[in-house]
């Protein structure tokens, strides 16, 4: 399998069902940061366009007071509960959006080339290293794009998943020979 993946210049796959939460809170508040960091077991990424992986969840910076938290489907309810408890006395919002988004992975040596057919962001490793995250456009779909070791993960609204899948497959045709 691993060898097969290496032979594929750009492999496209839908990510399995997973937990996704939108967290909104004031990142300037140290108490709030500490409370969230405690639950995530990693500091909340407050630097724009960064992400931070904890034991059970990865936090993606979406905006100065907004994060997408990715976790296993099994941990979804527990994570939401834990955050709501930790933030009970604070102004914050934790909303389950697991069904709102569909994830895809695009991996392989041509992954950046493939995405660059529809994404105006500079995806070269010098400009877009592992862990970097942007919300931007891929062709006509809003995406949240995350660089991972093997390539990229991207998340689109559920109703854009079909369009995005079609688009990715069509864009990848050039590399399938």
């Amino acid at each position: 399998m691993a060898e097969m993946m290496q032979d594929t210049p750009a492999a496209i796959a839908a990510l399995p069902e997973s937990g996704k939460l939108i967290l909104r809170a004031d990142a300037d508040n140290a108490d709030i940061r500490a409370a969230i960091g405690g639950v995530l077991t990693a500091p909340l990424p407050v630097e724009p366009l960064t992400s931070m992986a904890g034991d059970k969840a990865t936090a993606l910076w979406l905006g100065p007071d907004e994060w997408l938290l990715l976790c296993a489907e099994a941990d979804r309810a527990g994570l939401q509960q834990a955050l709501e408890t930790a933030l009970a006395s604070q102004h914050a919002s934790v909303v389950d959006v697991s069904d709102s988004y569909q994830g895809f992975s695009v991996t392989g040596p041509k992954a950046a080339d493939l995405l660059s057919k529809g994404c105006a962001i500079d995806l070269h490793p010098v400009a877009f290293g592992e862990g970097k995250v942007v919300r931007t456009l891929l062709a006509k779909a809003d995406i949240t794009l995350l660089r991972i070791e093997a390539g990229f993960q991207l998340y689109v609204l559920r109703s854009f998943a079909e369009y995005t899948r079609l688009w990715l497959d069509d864009a990848g045709r050039e590399y399938r020979g």
Partner: protein, 93 residues
């Protein structure tokens, strides 16, 4: 094509933004006290300068933050960007 430096995300294509028109308009919460003419001025009348113009932009396909930009409407270049509530930067005045 224009790029706009989002105060949070950095330089991005103009496609990712939505324009919100003239900046620094003050919405009066006790507008009952305003005359029709004063209210109409707030509603309808906008500066349309050739040159520097402070305007509102929304990074709709990015961080979803509203911010202000000083743009030269003649050369279509962005001279400064700043966050809501901040004063128009000196350099761009």
């Amino acid at each position: 094509m224009l790029t706009i430096p989002c105060p949070w995300c950095g330089e991005r294509d103009v496609h990712e933004f939505r324009s919100g028109g003239e900046a620094h308009l003050k919405r009066e919460r006790r507008a009952d006290a305003l005359s029709d003419a004063e209210w109409a001025d707030f509603l309808f009348l906008r500066a349309n300068p050739k040159g520097e113009h402070a305007e509102r932009w929304y990074h709709v396909h990015g961080c979803r933050r509203w911010f202000n930009a000083v743009r030269n409407t003649h050369t279509d270049t962005i001279l400064a960007v700043y966050k809501p509530g901040e004063a128009k930067p000196e350099a761009a005045q």
